[in-house]
Every structure is written in C-alpha cells, then in structure tokens.
Symmetry: C2
C-alpha cells in the first residue's frame, strides 16, 4: 500500500467527527458530574488506574445552567459501609484543581448553524491508584451543594495463581464469522458439501462471541476495542489505554494499566508485539500507549520503548519483540516523535534492528528485536504472493530512502520469529504475545474483499504454524492461544458473479443479471473443483497462472481470478463501481474526491462494472465498522473461560485470571 | 402480511432459476454417472433412504456424447473388501429401468440465446433401504463399458443408548450472530457499555457455528438447509427430505428419513411442529415431506397427516402438535391438496382443531392438536403488539371466509402449549419439538429490519419462557434445547441515523449526512436510556406512545420510533428508498414491478428517504440469503456435542446421537 494511504486509513476513525447522536456532551457522563472510571466498571485487583473527575457548567445550549462549575466538589470511596475521602482512601495528596472550557454541538442542525454549546469545567485527577480488595465499591462525586454522581465499581475476585505460562493473543482486525466463512469457501476444497480440510480456527475446542460496543457508542474503532481487550475497561473511539476526558491535552486522560504492563510488572516475563499495520496503529499501540488520540503516532512509538514518561506509572522496560510497518515513525523526520531517530533509540537500549525478511530470518533469538519492514502498512499477502509486481515502486522501504520494500515478511514469518525470541529469552518467566492481522480490516475498509480474505487466510495459516511451533518447542500445553477480533465489518457473500457475462453487458441494470443467488451461486471456483475429484490431494493445489503451489496443509485459493467470483458486499459504502473481480494492480481505492467532503466513484476502479451509490455520508472515502459480536477461538490452559457470549472486557479478565495477575496488595 | 405476499416470499427461492453458475447439468453429478446419495455422504445406522442412479447422455452442448444413455449400467456396494450387487446387498428386487430427457443451460449466454442442452437419461431407484453396520462403504456405478462413479459412504458409529428424553429445536429462520447483536442493542439496556440484562441465548453454556452451504451451491435456501438439519444429508435448493434428481416428477426423488420420522418409528414418542410461517413452508415441511419442489404446499400438508403414500416408507402417524399459519392449504379449495378440507381430515384422525389464540389457550393438553391461525404467514410481533391496527382488513382469517385474523397467538404462546401437549401425551416415550421463528427470515427478505428483530426478540422470549416451562414441569434436565438457524442474511448495523435531520434534507446526497458512524453512532435510543439511570428497574420499560409495558424479564424495545435509529443494511438488495424508520403501516415492500422482471423502488415505501440502487438482478423483488456460518446455542443433555465449528448435518447427528437413534438392525 502506498504511503499516501496512511492518512486515509486513519481518517475513517478520526474524521467522522460531526454526525448524529454522539452529540453528547461527554461520553459516560450524562449529568454535570463526571466520574472516570464510570459507573458499572470492573477492575482487576491491583491494576493501576487514574481517576478523573469533572464538573460541567454549560454556558449556553439546552443545558445552560449559568456556566459556573463548582470548584468545591468532593470525592469519596465507600467500601463495606465505610466511606473515606478518596485522597485518604488511596493515601495520596489531594489533587490540584484544574479548569478548562470545551465546546460541542447538540445535533447536526446546531453543527450546520455553527452554534456550539460551551461548557466550563472544574476537574481533578488522582494518578496511579489501585484497588486491591475484591468486591463492590461506590465512588461518589458531590458537587453543586449536594448533587451526587455515584459509580458502582467491582473488583473481580480472580485467581492469583498462574495457570498458563504463556499467552498468544491473535487479533484479526475487523474479522467476523462471515469473513471466516468466505475465506473457508475460497481456500478449502469441498466435495458435495463436505470440506476436505478445515480452517485452523475451526479446529479450536472452544468458541465464544464477544460484544465489541464502546463505552459511549455502539460502534467501536480499533483503539477503543483494543483498550477493552487489554485493560478490561470500555472506552471511547480513538482512545488508547485511557478514558477520554474533555480537557485539551491528549496526554492527561485517566490511564488504565494494560495486560502487557501488568504482566511485565508482576512477572518480569517477555512481551511481544507483532502487526502487519504500521506499528503505531491502534491495535499494537494500545498495549503501551495512553492517550485519547490514536493519531499521536510518534508518541505511541516512544511509549513502546520508554513507557509513560509524563506521569509516574508502570516501570516499563520495553517489549522483547516489536515487528511491523510504520517506518515513518522510526527514521528521523517530521513524522517521528520530536524528530528523533527511533532505530537508534531502540538500538541504544540493546535492540537488534532488522528491516527485511532476510535479516529477520537470520536474526538471533537471544536479543530483544525491533523489526520494521515498510513505511505505512505492510504489503498484503495477495501482493506478496500473487501480484508481486505491486511491491515495486511504492517508495516504502523502511530506511526512509524511497526504495521499495520488496523483502517483507508475512504475519507468519514475524510471529514464528517472535515466538522463538520470546521463548529463548523467557523460558522461566513466560511471555505474552499479541499478533495482529491488521489488513483484514484495512482491506475491508476499501471494499477489497480479495485482499482482506487473503489476510484472513494468512492469519489462519499463522495460527496453524504457531501451534506447530509451540508444539515443537514443547510449550503448547503451557500456552493459552486465543484468536479473536476487535470489531466487525458488515461483510457477507450472497452468491456468485459470472464476470464474463457482466463484462459483456453494456447497461448497468443488465450487468446485475450476472449475479447468481441460491442454487445459482453454484460452487466455489477458487479452489478449482473441476480439476480434482475425490477426497485425495486436497493439501496441494496449483495456480496455473502464477505457478503458486500450496502444500503441507497450507490453504489459499489456487485461482484468485476465476470466471465465477463471489458476490460480496459490505453494507455501508461510499459511491463505487462493482465488477466483482480481483484488483490485480494493487489494493483497491473505490472512491475519490475533488472537494474534501464529497467522495464519488473513482473512475479508475472496476471500470467494467456498474455504479452503486453509497449510503454513507459523502465525506466517507471508505466503508466503516459494524456492530456484530465477533468470534473467539480458544485452546490451551483456561480455554473454558472463553466459551459462550460475553463482553470484550472479559477477554482481558480471562487472560489475567489465567495468568494469575490479581494482587491483593502492592 | 396480506395473502398476496405468499407467492412473493417463495419466489425468492423458486424463481431465481436462471443465473450464473448453477448452470451445471445436475448437482453432485459432475460426470455422466450419478449416484444419490453421492460421494462423501454420512448416514445414521438404520436410517431409511432411497438410492437414485442416473446415466446421462447429452445430445448437444459442450458435453455432447451421442445422446444414447447406457441402459445396462450396474450398481454395487463394497463393505470390508466384499462387493455385492446392490439388490443382493439390500435384499430387494432389481429396480426397473426408467428413461427421461431433461434440458439445462450451460451459462447465461446460452440462456439468452435460447439454446438449451438436452440430456437423455437412463435411471434406476432402490427404495427404502438402510445401512446398519457402522463404517465405510463404497457404492460403485459402472456404465458405458467400464466407466465408474464411486461414492464413499460412511455410517457413523453413534450411540444406541438414549441420553435425552426430549429435544426442543428452535430455528430462527435466517438468524445470524449479527442480528442477535442488533436485537440485544435495541431491547436490553446498557449502562456505560455494560448490558443490564442478557438475551436468553447469551446464557446458553455451549456455543457453536454451523456451516449452511448446499450440496451443489454455496448458498442455501430453507428447504435444503432444513433437510440437512433433519436428515444429516446436504441437498439442493428447494428440496425437502430428498436429493434432487433430474426426472420430471417432483415426487420420485430419492428420499431421506427425517429425525421426526426416525424418532417416531423407533421410540413412539411425540412430535411437535410449530412455526409462524404458513405451515407448509420449507422449515416445518421438511420434517415429513419428501419432494424436491418446496412449492408443493398441498402435498406437504397431506404429508403432515398421512406421511408418504406413494412409496413404502416410515409408518408415520402424524404429529401431536401442528401449529402455524397457511390456512389456504386447510380449508377446501384451489390451494388445498386435491381440493380437500384438511381441517376435516385432521379432525377425522382425532385432532382437536383450533383457529385462534383464545381457543388455543383453552385447548386441552390431552389431545393431538392442529392450530391454524391465519392465511399465509402469521402476523408479526410488531403488528400484534405495537402497530395493532395492521391486523385488521387482511382477509386472512383461518376459516377462509375473508375476515381478519386478529386473535393470533405468538411463537411463545404456540410453543408453550406445544410443550404442555407433548409432555402430557408422551411423559413415558419423550418427544421432539421443532419451533420456528420464520419471519426473522421473511422480514429480512423485505428489508424490514424492525419487524425481523421483533421476531428475533420474540424467539428469545420464547426460548426463555420454554426453559421456565420445562423447569416447571420438572423435565429441564431431561431435555436437550438447541437454538440455531438454517442460513443467514448479510445483515449488520453500521451506525445510527438522525431521522429528523434526514427528513429535513432535500437532496439525496445530503440525506446521507444524517448517518453517524463510530463515536457518532451514539447509544441505542430504543431502550430510552435517558429516562432511566443506574442498574435498577431494568426489567420494566414503558412505551409512552402505546402504553406497552414489559416486565418479569421480558425484553423488547420500549420505543420503536426514536429520533436516532439504526443504520442497518442487508448487502444484497433490489432498488429501494431508505429513511431508516420503522414501517408503521405494516410489513415493508421495498420494490415493485410494472414488467415481470424489472423491480424498481416502490414509490410508497420510505418516502422521506433517499434512493439506493440495488446490486441484485432486477428480477429480484427482495433481498437474498447469505453464506455466513450461523450460531448454535445448546444446553441440556449432550450439550457438549454442539460446541465449536461444524457442518449443519452434524446437528442431525448430534440430536440422533443424544436420542440414541442408531440401530444396527431393522
């Protein structure tokens, strides 16, 4: 993917800023007194967190109450019938009072009229506190002469005994059950309705569903959902490891200690972070960063190395493994933190630095290792393996010198090396690895379903190879393996498309006649069913056009460009043209704009297809996330904790329980 | 729903007859020799089935081979190295040779050119055979001087010992995980991202995913998938309890004994069939009907009462309970079987016949009971409970006299009565109940998401009430309860819509600006979050406009018409207009046609909305099914059989295993 895509990918989450009913003054704060962590919050015993209190006084708008926020509010903690001032309870100094103003729009009409509501705020923050005793707490903010905001907090009664030595958390970003079904269809041969091979995920003994909604909106982004998965706390879109407050600074929001931080602090075990995204992207970032603005990429990379530096926090000593893209935050320049060279900064702290797959494979497993393999997001499986000419000319070499990053590892190569390093360095203390297939999401955003499904199949292949490696290392029984997602996209497959017929029709409405539904969907042409028969030879398939061969239980389509393709859709799109064929010349760009907020069909995309008008606001360049619960596949110690239906925060609590991370004292 | 919809609902499956790559000569038969059951088939030991053999000789087209089909083909069964002629193996007379011709189109170009391929056929059928010994079999068809088609058959080694007394199989027709997520959002109150109540399905201890694809296409319809769920055999779209052969008659296809037939034959237990569809519709029909044409509604109803009459088959004595709509197959006339009065026919066989909810509630639990409550599909939950004026004037009274069926039970009322009758009559032998929420599917087809989600919530409420009733009767621990679906639709929710803003915009592209994504999705307005606070009182909510009150753990939206609604989509649609508001005047009809195969926006639908062009063929009046795996929720004896990911046929084998239905001899 060309570097210029970087901004657009992020834009989907960051710039959708002024529509519909998030016209709320502040998330999780329906009254004028705000407590973060808010009502209905669960905690791991001993987990560090900050508390932010805000008292709001709207100056204008429908809630206007004089505009004078109470500076004399008080805050107390009640436990087992005993109430104490919070500063007393936590044994900290009373925080100093802060003041600021912020503005918001009550609705779209107010936005169109340019009529913001102004709110004046008084606030305090308690930094790095923790609750150690399991049970229920009541946090009470008193303000405006006796008005109260109460928050029920629960410290879960979890194990302090460790049941797993290692955890591998695979995240298929944006991956849904629907996508897994489609990936299976194109990669695994079926005879008379019976698949002749299985996805690795299909073999996991325990299946769960997790709910992905936000604290204050029912659709999440990857920052917010990663925060839930890693901290056990739901947050707000764009927030990494914090609750979002209303202050101006993106670096003073109330923080939440992450599974990586807790694990390293308590066990001194190793942490690995692997992603096919630019490594400052939300899903890897949320393991160490604490900001409500996921766009602070430079600061995110600094946090990987140095942890939190503006407040007292966990003493973070860096991950053992950090592999991904996003070289623009590493070589010195405008997009790195304070213009610094982070390759040098990591090397100065003892990291082995690698920048291509050859070096990665040759790297020792003894050292902490930084592997940055491209500018922006890494190349897609489909481009690395089938349409390889697309790797050339992207000026995305990780040294920042405008060469092409043609020697990039895939998720499998990065993950296997990460396991080797983590195990070599942490045979005693164990380790935690997060491995993200980031571009399932990124390619779903741009309606490039072939590339997205290629990334999903690469994830499944990575899971399979990782389990084999864990087994080879003799640690499979000591390792909890989870495969899940952070949110969905509204993707599904509804039939097939005769691309030859579609192309032969001249009229847009006639082209729709190429689509076959129900019985007329026929069978998948991606696995060449007509070239083989019977149950044999299913582990090997050859792509005649590229010579690609898959053996040894590696499952990818043998033909990405059959006559009969999948009739897929996302359900929330910009204007675009559809011809339902693989995009051979690189990742898809369905819509483009001549004025900033008016995206229309990109004239270069799917030229033989028909035009479909989108339903999204015309300011959206690409598809958006969806509501659906996402699957959780679990195997290993504590697998039974991950069956059934639960909230995304329960993934954190399950991992923490299995690792025995609860602490009843500091 | 008005009676005239009957044809359209079915049309989606039946009439999508000439698109794309089902241009295959005959499903599961890629060569000129066809064996049904085909290669890769599993059997329950002792399950009755028919065998159909066909030898094809194409007269013209790309496969033309002279057009003379071999009349001297032979068929043998190999088991443990020993091969016997099939007639010898099964101890039946050699079947007589049949001959016919059929035609098909090789692709859409051939169809447009009016150039069918003609195939001549020789065939034999072995009727009502069974395999009793567990293990692998090879069935071999030899034709054309030594060409062979072989089929690997496996008789699964399942329990003959019964582990559950009763089975309740709930089918949410067309229900996906995505829909469950959306239903939860609108019916269950959330505080700061924590639901204050759960769906009943969310409480089930075991979760699975089942793959729904067909034998010969990757998208299924409800007939085909019901056949898989009830017989353990994948089949073809529109086929009920048979494999689809190429002969003209829809009543001579090779049959497969269903779970209802096997259960009644072997245990003499009771069978209950409940659906909110017209009762001859595919999902209820597939329990007793055997035809490749689901449109044979009259014959389906006859099969409920009399079983199979044209061949020797299971001696079927009728269900104890048959509840649903579809009166037009019961009162005498053009749409009943041979013009007969099936109310009378059922009564003559001892059935108590009821036609409204009052009579249903008053009915004794001692008698076999037929309850038919409307013409066509039954009224939707939303119309029965909120927009009740829509029940008037539909001329759908079950007596066929053009009154309105205003006193219809819901799925819950029907299911609870069914349980009472089944338990009263079968306390010793146990019972099997299938209860279908049919209109999740039907309302998804017409893009009426509010009604579809209302039906889903009614299903969940029914499951909850049924579990309570089973517990009250003291049989909960003796009853396997499954909640699953037969296929999906590509539905998801991607955000919210400010309907007031949308309505105020004049331009179609401006209207899209009303849609809020990510943080701007905000919170669900359907549960009136602003009218309540804290975790209390979550079991009671009041709709101010209708006075509707839900208490005692019954969860439905308290407001179906909030300002901020769900931004939902199906992903495969006809042309339509979208304003994202509830359709207050009755079930939605998004598209209409002036010429038979050209559906455009219905000018009466969603008039304040904006136009979106569909992607489906313009001959489609409504949305279509999708590929996605669907969830399975299990509790009770053998629940552990239903975790993880598996094929839809495994639901049959799991139920049969739990009921101990395998037999090693007749």
């Amino acid at each position: 993917m060309a570097p210029h895509f970087l901004g657009i990918v992020v834009a989907a989450a960051l710039l959708a800023s002024t529509n519909a009913q998030s016209f709320q003054r502040l998330g999780a704060c329906p009254t004028f007194g705000c407590v973060f962590p808010p009502d209905q919050t669960d905690f791991l015993a001993g987990q560090f967190f900050d508390i932010r209190l805000e008292v709001h006084a709207p100056v204008n708008g429908s809630e206007a109450n004089g505009g004078v926020p109470d500076p004399n509010f008080t805050f107390s903690i009640t436990k087992d019938g005993s109430t104490q001032r919070a500063s007393t309870y936590f044994g900290v100094a009373e925080p100093t009072l802060e003041r600021w103003n912020f503005t918001w729009y009550e609705d779209l009409f107010a936005r169109d009229a340019g009529s913001p509501s102004v709110v004046r705020v008084t606030s305090k923050a308690y930094r790095r506190v923790a609750l150690y005793e399991a049970g229920e707490y009541t946090a009470t903010l008193s303000y405006n002469n006796g008005t109260k905001t109460t928050a029920s907090w629960l410290v879960r009664d979890l194990a302090t005994v460790r049941r797993t030595k290692n955890v591998v958390l695979f995240i298929g970003d944006g991956m849904t059950t629907n996508m897994i079904t489609a990936a299976r269809l194109i990669a695994h041969k079926s005879v008379n309705g019976r698949y002749q091979s299985k996805m690795q995920m299909d073999k996991f003994p325990v299946l769960g569903h997790q709910m992905t909604h936000s604290l204050d909106s029912f659709i999440t982004d990857s920052a917010n959902s990663a925060t839930a998965l890693y901290t056990g706390h739901k947050s707000t879109v764009n927030a990494l490891g914090v609750y979002a407050d209303s202050s101006k600074s993106p670096f003073d929001d109330p923080k939440l200690e992450t599974i990586a931080e807790i694990f390293q602090r308590l066990t001194h075990g190793g942490v690995g972070i692997v992603s096919t995204a630019f490594i400052a992207d939300a899903t890897p970032a949320a393991l160490t960063a604490h900001t409500r603005d996921r766009g602070q990429y430079g600061a995110v990379v600094d946090s990987f190395l140095n942890g939190i530096t503006n407040y007292t926090w966990t003493n973070w000593t860096g991950p053992d493994v950090l592999f991904g893209g996003g070289a623009e935050q590493f070589f010195p320049g405008k997009t790195s933190f304070q213009g610094k060279d982070y390759y040098k900064a990591f090397a100065a702290k003892g990291y082995n630095v690698v920048q291509n797959n050859t070096a990665l494979q040759a790297a020792s497993s003894e050292s902490k290792t930084l592997g940055i393999f491209s500018v922006s997001n890494m190349a897609k499986w489909l481009d690395r393996n089938v349409y390889t000419k697309n790797l050339v000319g992207n000026k995305d070499a990780p040294d920042g010198k405008n060469g092409s990053a043609t020697d990039q590892p895939g998720l499998k190569e990065m993950t296997l090396k990460a396991i080797d390093i983590l195990q070599t360095r942490n045979a005693d203390n164990g380790w935690f690895l997060m491995s993200e297939a980031a571009s399932i999401d990124k390619q779903m955003h741009t309606l490039d379903y072939d590339r997205a499904l290629g990334e999903l199949l690469e994830l499944d292949d990575t899971v399979k190879a990782s389990i084999a490696r864990l087994d080879h290392l003799g640690i499979l029984k000591d390792t909890l393996v989870l495969v899940t997602a952070d949110h969905g996209h509204g993707f599904d497959v509804m039939g097939s498309v005769d691309t030859k017929y579609l192309e032969a029709q001249e009229d847009d409405r006639d082209k729709r006649g190429a689509i076959g539904v129900y019985r007329e969907s026929g069978l998948s042409q991606y696995t060449n069913p007509n070239s083989e028969s019977g149950p044999s030879s299913n582990a090997s398939s050859v792509n005649n056009s590229t010579g690609l061969t898959f053996t040894d239980g590696t499952y990818f389509p043998s033909n990405w460009d059959p006559r009969y393709t999948l009739f897929s859709a996302l359900g929330a799109d910009p204007d675009r043209r559809e011809n339902y064929q693989v995009h051979k010349n690189g990742p898809r760009k369905p819509a483009s704009n001549s004025t900033p907020d008016d995206y229309v069909v990109d004239y270069r995309d799917a030229v033989t297809g028909f035009v479909v008008n989108g339903t999204l606001p015309i300011s959206e360049a690409q598809g958006v996330h969806s509501l659906t619960d996402v699957p959780v596949f679990a195997q290993g110690p504590c697998q039974e904790l991950f069956g059934g239906v639960y909230n995304n925060i329960d993934i954190f609590f399950g991992m923490a329980d299995c690792l025995g991370l609860a602490r009843d004292k500091l």
